[in-house]
């Protein structure tokens, strides 16, 4: 058994130490947000936050986590209030198939928590690790700009 802190709560998990975090989140903790996309750290569908930094959960083995805090899409809403980044994605209708979106939200969350006034170029560079195949990029960018404003900042041209 290994103890894992996810979305502020400790969880006892019975899994091999080499199991990537993604499989534990999805199967042991029944969290849908992080998705399996490539298992190679190339697409970002599995993006979650570890101690506030975006990581590819498909690549991080349980053994490497230690006591660090994991946050997933499910952990963003606080006190039942919708969180600003997911709310912005909904407001901008920033999804087609949506399979990449949870990862997009988490990567954007990491940026805006650190810097809610990024430039447009910084925003795009920051989001570059995450792939979308439906071509929803323009709406995803619009959603992050909207969220930046909601978080007291704003994306600079």
């Amino acid at each position: 058994m290994i103890t894992l802190t996810v979305n502020g709560k400790p969880h006892e998990v019975d899994a091999d130490l080499d199991t990537p975090l993604l499989y534990v989140l999805r199967n042991d903790l029944a969290l849908n947000g992080a998705k399996f996309g490539c298992g190679l750290g190339q697409c970002g569908a599995c993006t979650v936050l570890v101690d506030g930094k975006p990581v590819f959960s498909c690549l991080v083995p349980l053994a490497a986590l230690g006591r660090r805090e994991v946050r997933t899409l499910e952990g963003l809403a606080a006190d039942g209030k919708p969180a600003p980044v997911p709310a912005a994605f909904e407001a901008e209708q920033a999804a087609q198939c949506g399979y990449c979106i949870a990862g997009m939200i988490m990567r954007a969350q990491a940026l805006l928590e650190r810097n809610n006034r990024p430039t447009e170029a910084e925003l795009r560079a920051h989001m570059a690790p995450n792939l979308c195949r439906c071509g929803t990029h323009m709406r995803i960018l619009a959603a992050v700009r909207r969220a930046a404003v909601a978080m007291g900042g704003g994306v600079q041209p």
């Binding site: 899994a15 199967n27 298992g39 198939c97 990449c100 570059a128």
Partner: protein, 735 residues
């Protein structure tokens, strides 16, 4: 407000009746017949049911693929039933519950299912109104329907639930039922009903299903189509940690485990043994050249009459091509299967649950009624990806463990290696320009493998081939839809014009339907060639098109973009000049010449040293007929543009003589955020009461061609072979 009766609609002068038939009835086919899908399943309760509590359930055989179909169909039904959209439950593609509407493909869903539901709803509303009129003892046209109830002018009312209790909806739909005179839900940009779960971690995908006692499985295959793994000592595999079961039947091999990671690790072990390619090697030449060396069957595409071209005309020829392209779903294909009571239920993101059921019935040698396929969303597919194959894999795996659900997902390398590709294609165009600067003759030749190997039988599935079932033959798809020939017939009024599809049946690599089929290539070629002809004629590219275009809606779509983009005041292309390139490009097409119209103009800059294109702005227009959800249409057009820019600039599937070399995103790099356009704006031209025109595939062709035209404008060099990659642009500049 009274609904027009059938008598009102059919009465009046012929011209009025005709215009009403186009406008006021819920019947888009004005020949007095039911629309196609409603004719196939004419019973109203196949489409709409209302229970005694007033709950309305609408059924569609089409599937949500992330295109917003569920929301749009609910809007259609709600509008015509005069209820709030929230009061409708929609059941999508399920072989046990919904009408069989074939595959969700070809931008057909609004056209087919939308029109069927619109008509069915108009029928149901009329029956409800009749029932209310009987109850209120007054004429049906004295009854108003709104908010889920019928209301009389003298204050009586009855809910749909009360009325439905005495109503038999197991009756055949009648054609030409009048629509509500004023739409209240159609035409509104309602937020999509599937998005909240997708942005909050709800269960949204088949990948998210967790059934009690579910096992995880992986299928074991060679690295790409045409290969297989070397023989294994399965006793070793069975003893690997966590492996619950190894399923082997002929060439099919799957590994089942309680924990998904154990299945993945066992798969890695199995794959490490190595693989072989038992059949012919792959050609060494570029795939588009290699297939042209194979036997072709010539299929006429179109022939427009006209006199022979003048002998002193200017002949222009050009050849364009594209490589094999990948669907490239972000989530590898996945299915969940449960074998019980000598039958199987499969939860699948297949685009066609009906055809999949037939194929699984063949694969598993089960009567069709023992196979149930239920659509659950997956990652976007953009055509025939691994969805059907993985459903078969899961079903075969589940057969070994009756009573236990099996969730089987492909690995990334498997999706890249085994998904059917969009065929490589080549187009040659020849035209004669007369002295008046107009086209006097036109010839279109297109070479391609097939564009549809969707499963219709057990052998149409990878697992079926591994069990030794015969492969399906590929045949050309006839016009007007066409496959490799799709959109090979120009929308322009061209005299003395012909086109031939050189269909190459023998496919060295696995190919099938990719979004738009041949339309992207044919439109890229035609719209590039129109620019080349305009240049030869000394005309503005848009003016040249308009001089050859009679379709009024096409002209409207073009004019909208010309105005919104500011085409007349656009920056002049830098052409052959020094420094970095700047240019604008325009293109237009009507998808299949029977679906949505889409015009696109864009402006780019090109860094001459790197060959990297930056898309500065894109302006598009779309005429999808009656726009049910304008924002949904915009989303589809925007997405199609960005995806097409990726196809056009970034993408080409690679091969060596033994396998695909594009096995992941590093070997098949698609567009990332820094490469996305700075802005994309889409203008929806609404045509109330006109037929719905399919939109999902309308922008790919024009976006590719507009980019090619902008590159030519910026560099003064025409690049005719996709992808328009940095290396190819630098090569073109160097030559």
């Amino acid at each position: 407000m009274t609904a027009p009766t059938r008598r009102h609609v059919l009465g009046g002068a012929l011209v009025v009746a005709f215009s009403l038939a186009r406008g006021a009835v819920a019947q888009h086919d004005d020949k007095g017949k039911l629309p196609v899908d409603l004719a196939k399943s004419p019973m109203l309760d196949s489409w709409i049911r209302i229970d005694a509590s007033g709950k309305i359930t609408v059924f569609t055989g089409k599937a949500e693929l992330g295109q917003g179909l569920k929301t749009a169909l609910i809007q259609v039904a709600a509008d015509e039933l005069a209820v709030a959209p929230e009061s409708i439950d929609l059941v999508t593609a399920d072989t046990a519950l919904t009408p069989d509407e074939g595959v969700t493909a070809g931008s057909h869903s609004m056209q087919d299912s939308g029109t069927a539901i619109l008509n069915a709803a108009a029928n149901v509303r009329a029956l409800l109104a009749e029932a209310a009129a009987w109850r209120f003892a007054m004429a049906a046209d004295q009854v108003e329907m709104h908010d889920g109830a019928a209301h009389s002018l003298n204050g009586q009312s009855a809910t749909y639930g009360e009325l439905a209790a005495s109503l038999d909806l197991h009756v055949e739909a009648k054609p030409n039922m009048p629509r509500r005179p004023k739409s209240t839900v159609i035409g509104q940009s309602l937020p999509r009903i599937d998005i909240p779960a997708k942005v909050s971690g709800g269960q949204a995908y088949v990948q998210d299903m967790r059934l009690p006692r579910m096992l995880h499985a992986r299928v074991a295959r060679g690295p790409s189509d045409g290969t297989r793994l070397k023989d294994q000592d399965l006793d070793v595999v069975r003893k690997l940690p966590g492996v619950e079961r190894v399923v082997q039947e002929a060439g099919f091999l799957a590994i089942l485990a309680e924990k998904e990671w154990h299945a993945v690790k066992a798969l890695q072990h199995v794959q490490a043994i190595g693989w072989i390619r038992p059949g012919d090697s792959l050609p060494t030449a570029d795939i588009r050249e290699a297939i042209r060396q194979l036997p072709a069957e010539d299929v006429p595409i179109f022939a427009y009459p006209g006199p022979p071209a003048p002998a002193d005309g200017t002949s222009v020829t050009a050849r364009y091509s594209r490589p094999c392209l990948m669907h490239g779903s972000i989530g590898p294909s996945c299915a969940v299967a449960l074998w019980e009571n000598d039958g199987v239920t499969v939860w699948t993101h297949s685009q066609g649950v009906g055809p999949l059921r037939r194929s699984l019935s063949g694969l598993l040698k089960l009567p069709a009624d023992k196979v149930r396929c239920i659509h659950v969303e997956g990652s976007g597919c953009y055509g025939h990806n691994g969805a059907d194959d993985v459903a078969a894999d899961a079903a075969l795996a589940a057969r070994a463990v009756p009573g236990r659900p099996v969730r089987l997902q492909w690995m990334r390398e498997q999706e890249h290696g085994w998904e059917p590709l969009g065929s490589a294609m080549t187009v040659e165009l020849q035209a004669t320009l007369a002295g008046d600067g107009k086209v006097a003759s036109w010839r279109h030749d297109v070479w391609s493998n097939g564009h549809n190997s969707r499963p219709q039988s057990g052998g149409g599935l990878l697992a079926g081939q591994e069990l030794g079932m015969p492969k399906q033959r590929m045949r050309p798809i006839p016009m007007p839809e066409g496959g490799g020939s799709r959109n090979g017939n120009p929308i322009y009024a061209l005299p003395n014009a012909t086109g031939v599809f050189h269909f190459i049946e023998q496919a060295p690599v696995r190919v099938s339907a990719l979004r738009g089929l041949g339309a992207q290539m044919n439109i890229f070629a035609i719209e590039s060639f129109m620019d080349e002809l305009a240049k030869a004629a000394g005309s503005d590219p848009v003016a040249f098109r308009l001089a050859h275009l009679q379709d009024e809606r096409a002209r409207d779509a073009i004019q909208t973009v010309v105005d919104r983009f500011g085409w007349a005041k656009r920056p002049r292309g830098t052409g052959g000049g020094g420094g970095n390139g700047r240019g604008c490009g325009f293109a237009f097409a009507r998808y299949k010449n029977l679906a949505a119209y889409c015009a696109i103009a864009l402006e780019i800059t090109i860094d001459r040293d790197s060959g990297v294109i930056a898309v500065e702005r894109v302006v598009a227009s779309v005429d999808s007929g009656e726009a049910v959800n304008p924002d949904g249409i915009r989303n589809q057009i925007e997405g199609g543009i960005v995806q097409s820019l990726s196809w056009t600039v970034n993408e080409a599937v690679g091969f060596d003589t033994h396998h695909r070399t594009s096995f992941d995103w590093s070997a098949y790099p698609i567009l990332r955020f820094p490469q996305a356009p700075k802005t994309v704006e889409v203008h929806v031209i609404d045509r109330p009461r006109q037929p719905f025109l399919g939109t999902g595939e309308a922008s790919q062709g024009p976006a590719s061609a507009a980019l090619g035209n902008a590159v030519a404008d910026a560099l003064g060099v025409r690049v005719r072979d996709m992808p328009l990659s940095p290396d190819r642009l630098k090569g073109a500049l160097g030559s």
